[in-house]
Symmetry: D3
Subunit: 246 residues, 6 copies
């Protein structure tokens, strides 16, 4: 493929010239989300989950903001490649149930729906990240139905997935690479630099090729999520509602 011009500025210019409805701009949302820190250079957006600058403590607040975040990011044509990571040395540093004001299983019906069911069905594009264990069944006594179990089934094979979902055993980085969960295992301080290296290589290709390629690569995930996520999630939530907990 011959050299190519950066076409991103065109999208915004056209938007204005033709008087089209404006799509979100980085400055509109880059500080909107308390638990997500963002920076962007040359079309590459880096998002880091955090709590007060350290490893994120997962809570209802973050759970609620999650789908809003993806809609802003996905609807901004200036975002070309996404780097998504935790902060410090942990992907997720813990769970805090306080913000919910009450245990999930005792929430009133519509709050349960608004913050647990409804939000989660927006996660279609977020499944493609490395995970190291699924705490639902083994640790929390819940059905592993929030999409991570589905990712396990797809990436590591059904028998391995059954094992790790029933036991909630930890998967170390080397094993994760061998069974197809991650592609590279690196020292912590090399992670983000290497991510930027790959992102910049991807940015060298034409914009439409990048986006059509992404459509090809996400196709099996979209199919999987439409086929199965509602079943998984419906079963997880029914289990919570019948048994209390989480």
């Amino acid at each position: 493929m011959s050299s190519q011009d950066d076409q991103r500025p065109n999208a915004r210019a056209r938007e204005q010239r033709l008087g089209l409805v404006s799509r979100p701009r980085f400055e509109d949302y880059c500080e909107k989300y308390k638990h997500f820190k963002m920076e962007r250079r040359n079309g590459i957006l880096q998002v880091q989950m955090h709590t007060d600058g350290g490893p994120v403590i997962f809570n209802l607040h973050l759970h609620n903001d999650w789908p809003q975040l993806w809609m802003d990011i996905g609807n901004d044509p200036d975002n070309e490649v996404l780097i998504f990571s935790g902060t410090g040395d942990k992907w997720i540093g813990g769970f805090d149930r306080n913000l919910a004001e009450q245990p999930i299983h005792q929430m009133p019906a519509d709050a349960f729906y608004d913050h647990i069911y409804w939000d989660a069905t927006k996660l279609l594009e977020a499944a493609d990240h490395a995970v190291l264990f699924d705490p639902h069944f083994g640790d929390l006594g819940a059905v592993p139905g929030d999409g991570q179990g589905l990712t396990f089934q797809e990436l590591m094979g059904l028998k391995r997935a059954a094992y790790y979902l029933y036991t909630s055993d930890k998967i170390d980085a080397q094993t994760a690479r061998e069974i197809g969960l991650v592609n590279e295992v690196l020292p912590l301080d090399r992670l983000l630099p290497r991510a930027w290296e790959i992102a910049e290589k991807i940015m060298k290709k034409p914009r439409t090729v990048r986006r059509l390629t992404s459509a090809v690569l996400r196709r099996p995930w979209k199919r999987l999520l439409v086929q199965d996520l509602g079943f998984h999630l419906g079963h997880e939530l029914l289990g919570i509602r019948l048994n209390g907990g989480v």
Copy 2:
């Protein structure tokens, strides 16, 4: 196809001669089910739902027996063709919630699972019957997820199904025939004689052809139920558990 011998007695004779585990026999279960009256002639089994000899009043008892009934019938090699009907002039004459001892949404978790979720997943072979309205949404304020809504979607098209599931409107017999729910519309006293007429015609074909043909005809239903019934049912039960009712 040339003439053929009735092969049914062979199955039982072989079972005995080879000392195989015996499968259920008609005399074992024909009087086991309080709400299902059965008679069988020449491999054709007629089952009628009833309550005290009149139109059946649907209740937890019947809901519980339903999958047991199908396992007995389906596992008896002497059952070749099934005629399934109501009694008198109604398919179902009403609903009685008393037997449940408490409203469904207040049942303890395991009773809820045992009698509502678990049972229903066994209905795979029962979806192929004519229905005239779905009361879930319009009448009961429940999600139409017990398999009837799925049958509507498959047989009448997605747009018509959405209409009848949201409105719970009645579908008269003539309309039912036009939109693909039933194949013949007959006076009440012609219904069972005509069913036997068709059944006897089917019985004239070789046993293995009958059974392989049935595999061909049920294939899309089995696929549909595996793909969607768990999703539908999980959503219906979650709706009940969040809102009370039914």
Copy 3:
């Protein structure tokens, strides 16, 4: 189902009390879209396409705003039931290609992607409306791949769909009802009142039941669109790019 309280105000109150990121509110977007007129009462949102108050003239402007509109509407928890219609006596009153500044097939690659490919993949929830002919092949010499052809295939059967897509013949309202495209045929002045009548009936059911029911009814459409829309659209756009036109 017992009586139920209106739970909608809760969602907003919770959002504020817990300091969650605010989702779009009606006042934010009700006048944002030049070609869509909106009013909302009791959770029922009516949206009408128009151009200067008369039947809408389809153009690039509307094509661009379409997915933005659905994201605003779909992300506002106060929208419960949607009534979507044209204005006056026409669903769509004509096409205007001027706004594009140049014919679609001559657009630069990224504009082509931004306004034609990318937008259209957001239409997932918009396929569920009555249509009366598909002009692509018979009138415009284009591949019928924008989702309407897919809707025809699903609702009227593959053989009828092939016929109407190859011929671009008009389908009158009565035929549309018979082949499953629409459910009711009414005089023009009864259309919106009847739509409100049905919407108000739906609003009487519990909020979570309404939403879970909608998940059940939209499931086959989501699956269909994920499986096929990209194939259809890719083929339509390739045809445009190879042959000029539209």
Copy 4:
């Protein structure tokens, strides 16, 4: 779409200029098939099944030639639109089992495979034609697994298909139109003229649009055949092999 040039001659010219392997030409195969009469004008190929100039008598000869015919036709880039019909006043005039030298169920394994299983799996593109009854179960005592039953299931709905496949009842032309098997019902002498009228209308569109549109319209059929035809056919052949006949 603007006017367009006839691009067909280009394909052959390029083939020669570049020294590419030559694809079949009409003159190579137009008289190769004893039971198929062909004529072609302006890219429109008309094929008529016949036996000695009258209605075709279906036999092993025709069964064997069927997939060869489709490979020749499908591989000739000069064939643009196909009109496929019977001869005289019948689609198929009868069956003749003599040519097989022995009943199908007694054929040696490899002949059975070569002429029955293997041939049939090539019929992918031939399913899109109107049929009026399926004789397998009701008349021949065979499993309806050769693709016609699958076509019934897809076009008329599962319940109607079960009825017509079990009974082998005749479907008259008017009913066939109402349930989605055919699109127009015409006097015999209007059939071919009307087919040419539609074909010529299709030929007015650009060649690549025609072919990409055909890819869109055949997609559900290809999926259906890959998913189900092998299952159907395997069951039909197993039934024949277990019971004799056909």
Copy 5:
């Protein structure tokens, strides 16, 4: 998840109190099956295949009892976790064709159907076990269509599966773990203790969570079996019927 009560006794108590049809009890079937030895403690059922107390010799008797066994086990609500194993140092110790009285390919049609086709379609829940080679093609000259080939395709990938199914090569335990067939490789005397250890850990979770989790984990298997097992099996049986053998 907080501590939970053992809910199993409830199911039986309710059954009796409400006069529901009784589901199978352990004492009804624990000695019914000549080739399956069972013991159960605290909801964990251990089943061992055997012949006269040593490694099982696979025969028609076992083939026939297989689906009956699963129906008894699956229909008893007191069975919560299943441990399924061979006896001694072999999973299967050999094959004995004598009980069939005649070679499979010479069985009369209905015996062939009853004991080979019909039985096998009940194996839906049995696919989830470790296997070490598939003898069908390489050793027996048969089509590998009884479900094991399907399991290979799903668990080890299509290319590896093609290799092992064509060659019937042995897969050692270490390789089996690496390619996703088994999760742990242990000395023989640690196998059952480790299985009980995992089973008891699973039993600590709430009953409904366990069962809903199982629905999530089995979902891809059910889909796979409905989509493909009939095709595989039909082809295997057709091969046997055409070629003799097995």
Copy 6:
């Protein structure tokens, strides 16, 4: 399985005796293809891609002949097992764009269709070969949509496939074996002898078993290609047409 006779000669003899249309014979096509060298012994066909006897230089000529080759080979009943390889020490030795006379993205619409779109849709049976990197995105700036990307997604898992398709990194033979792309890694001079060894072992089984087994093993590939290849290819070609290149 008992001994078996070689049934291949029967197919040809029957063809002649019954006056059936003759299928292609080896002598008809063995020298027809400039870039494919063929030899056949005992039903085993070895095909080697080459350019002037050395490693093949991929060009439009070869691209055009590819589907013609498979139709000849697949339609000749004397071909039982296929060994497909490169020549010398390379699978593919390079690319030559000269034969196209002009860059692909500037070809007239129908040439683009004839040689790029249309040809490729015939590759259904050709996906099952070992590949070591996909140059589309990383090297050529094109969407990886010609079927190789699809093969990567199926064989190595979605996350690994995304990695290798975005980076176009080389996969060495050992890694290829570990992630499921190839089954054996051998010195170059052992490759063809080992292929013949396996082929001869396969040829020892009955002809119909071989062919029905092949139907079972290819089933997931056919499904995958019908579901996804058109989407992939449509996106690749749209990317080429929008950006120039390749």
